[in-house]
């Protein structure tokens, strides 16, 4: 049928995927309804510059434990055209692998100076930049002893809805056993941040992570 979209696959990492993944194919949105699916959060107007500095709870507060890193890149479509003014939300665990989310029951150490949540808008060239702490790996499935490699979550909102992705780190020993990495196959490279030196900038290093929206991403973006 021509008006059917993707079949969402049951994901391997999350505990409730079997219970919560729709079994029917998604229905394609007719053109007449497309614009109405794009929410515009009023908060987009008022994002403070300090919200992209996740190495501190707030400007002027002490730095969090661990290695400060820069995560920067360009948001673009498959033609390389910049995607401007899009909300990028980022969240990651602290250096010990602990999130501040109330449902992280791992018992790993919390850092009073780390929230692990930031947001920013891409600029006129599609560029974005965050400062954060290099996250620790964590035992995501104690029942089977499986770790999640170090990773940083991102949500990108463009002209319509969302893209959800993660940036990984080259050489993490847990990469090879991560189910999402296995699903991505060779294309996993696209989700690895490319390390670069940041001499005299107060960071351990930077990671370049360009985000290309399109192809099989289940999100439609306008580039105007």
């Amino acid at each position: 049928m021509s008006n059917m979209g993707r079949q969402i696959e049951i994901g391997p990492t999350d505990n409730t995927s079997n219970e919560r993944t729709p079994r029917s194919r998604l229905h394609l949105i007719p053109e007449a309804a497309r614009a109405s699916f794009a929410p515009y959060a009023p908060y987009n107007y008022g994002i403070a510059p300090s919200e992209s500095d996740m190495t501190r709870i707030a400007a002027g507060r002490p730095r969090a434990q661990g290695d400060p890193i820069k995560v920067t890149g360009k948001l673009m479509d498959q033609f390389g055209r910049p995607i401007r003014n899009s909300l990028i939300e980022m969240w990651n665990a602290n250096k010990h692998g602990r999130y501040t989310h109330i449902e992280d029951h791992s018992g790993l150490p919390l850092d009073p100076n780390f929230l692990g949540i930031g947001r920013t808008l891409s600029d006129d060239e599609g560029n974005y930049e965050f400062w954060t702490i290099r996250p620790g790996e964590y035992l995501a499935r104690p029942d089977i002893g499986r770790y999640r490699p170090k990773h940083i979550h991102m949500s990108i909102r463009g002209g319509s809805s969302r893209m959800i992705t993660q940036m990984y780190f080259a050489g993490d020993p847990h990469n090879d056993t991560d189910p999402m990495r296995i699903l991505m196959g060779d294309n996993f490279d696209k989700n690895i941040g490319q390390e670069f030196a940041t001499p005299d900038e107060g960071f351990d290093c930077g990671y370049k992570f360009d985000i290309v929206i399109g192809g099989k991403n289940p999100t439609f973006f306008e580039t105007t």
Binding site: N3, G5, R6, I8, E9, G11, D14, N15, T16, S17, N18, E19, R20, T21, P22, S24, L26, H27, L28, I29, P30, A33, R34, S36, F37, A38, P39, Y40, A41, P42, Y43, M76, D77, F79, G80, Y99, T100, H101, E103, H153, S161, R162, I164, T165, L183, M184, G185, D186, N187, K190, N191, D210, I211, I213, G214, G215, K216, N217, P218, F220
Partner: protein, 197 residues
Amino acid sequence: MAQPETKSNLLTATNEDTLGPYYPISLCDNDSMDLTVIRSGIIHKPVGEKITITGCVKDINGQLANGCLLEFWQANANGIYRTPDNETHELLDPWFNGYARHRTKDGNFTLTTIKPGACGERAPNITLTLFSDGIMRVVTQLFFEDEPSNETDALLLSIPEELRERLMIKKTGSGDYNIEIIMAGDNETPFFDDLLS
């Protein structure tokens, strides 16, 4: 997830990845489910009929889906969405944003809002985006039963007739409505894809 091998010059898209269980609820300034108040302590109220929609999100076993993050997006009573393009629209309601975000701890929710108006040819509706552990996100639109414009709505007409009923918010009393979202299995809620290709 892997992209097919192609010979084109198009850049390879970044892979989508799981949302995980720790999607930060605090990215929103305030977890709010009352769209009728955008500033507390102010006498102005949005135009339109104030309604309360109770609902729940259930999994394939009929169990409540705890810990979901819900986003609602709708037009005001005049059918105008508060997008940047509409900021100077004469029918924009300065006391209505139309956007709510809420984490439901147990799978139940209550949304207090204004009944949306019809936007152009579209029947009145509320967009629901659902984020949860186990999925990335899914999106759908919810309609009001007994709205004559449902008969000609482009989105409703695009799905098989027997599924339309599942997107209907049911009236349960004066100003009171109810909807059940079923993520998977029997009576599964129709979800939509915004994939272009």
